[in-house]
């Protein structure tokens, strides 16, 4: 399937906006002490990334469900490994 340059630009813009809103959601719902703009799109959410724990995972799942209408189940937990994966999951399911 071929896409026009305009379609590609629109999609990229939508993706950027979604990434921005997910970063804001992360910071506000998990009370993170960082600027949402400083979170990289490929940044891991756990370990050396944002250092989230399993309880934060649940809160993130609640936040994504409440604010974006997308459910994260046990089968989707890989989407919580990085911001990009999470945004992929949201894009695919909303």
């Amino acid at each position: 399937m071929t896409m026009t340059i305009e379609t590609v630009r629109t999609r990229a813009k939508t993706r950027q906006e979604l990434c921005r809103s997910v970063k804001k959601l992360l910071v506000s719902r998990l009370d993170l002490e960082c600027d949402p703009a400083m979170i990289g799109d490929d940044q891991p959410l756990f370990g050396r990334g944002l250092e989230l724990d399993s309880i934060d995972t649940l809160e993130l799942a609640v936040a994504v469900q409440e604010d974006l209408g997308v459910t994260i189940t046990d089968d989707d937990t890989e989407c919580l490994l990085s911001l990009n994966r999470l945004v992929d999951h949201i894009e695919a399911n909303r």
């Binding site: 799942a61 609640v62 046990d74």
Partner: protein
């Protein structure tokens, strides 16, 4: 679903005839689902129950409750942490009932009750005193792994008294 026989059809000595109409689960039946025991068994009656989804319970505050002897002498006030625990125990009933539906025996259901993992956004809007009847409500939310999000509220005389969101855990099924 529990059905109540008319009093005339009850076996002699049965307490079923006096079973309250709103009792979806009596205190004895709750005790078979939960591992908690005196003095930490807090719910008196379940009045609505949708296994795995939501439940409503009644908790009566009594001046004879030992905890009120120390909280506080001369100014009895039911502790806020125990109000949160009421919501957590009701959450365990919601998942215990789901376990029963899945065929778990009483002991197995109680064994699966896990721990309180998080208390988030807890608000205490009015205090609970001896003589108050608490209506405790809990609703299940998202689940990730063995963690379950639960929203709960407690009202007294139809006025909101507590609002809280908790995360609770369920222990793995040893038979799975």
């Amino acid at each position: 679903m529990t059905t109540t026989l008319p009093a005339t059809e009850q076996p002699a000595g049965s307490t079923e005839a006096w079973r309250a109409k709103d009792a979806v689960r009596t205190a004895d039946e709750i005790a078979r689902m939960l591992p908690h025991r005196y003095p930490f068994f807090l719910l008196d009656r379940i009045t609505a129950l949708e296994p795995g989804v939501s439940a409503t319970a009644i908790k009566n505050i009594s001046a004879s409750d030992g905890i009120l002897a120390g909280h506080f002498p001369g100014r009895m006030l039911y502790p806020g942490v125990l109000l949160i625990e009421c919501i957590a125990q009701l959450a365990a009933v919601i998942y215990g009932a789901e376990g029963e539906l899945a065929g778990g025996a009483d002991g197995q259901v109680a064994d699966r009750v896990g721990y309180l993992a998080e208390i988030r956004h807890a608000k205490f809007l009015r205090p609970a005193f001896p003589g108050d009847q608490l209506v405790v409500q809990a609703h299940s939310g998202a689940r990730v792994g063995n963690l379950i999000s639960v929203t709960g509220q407690i009202s007294i005389d139809r006025e909101p008294a507590v609002q809280a969101r908790l995360a609770v855990t369920q222990r793995p099924d040893p038979t799975a």
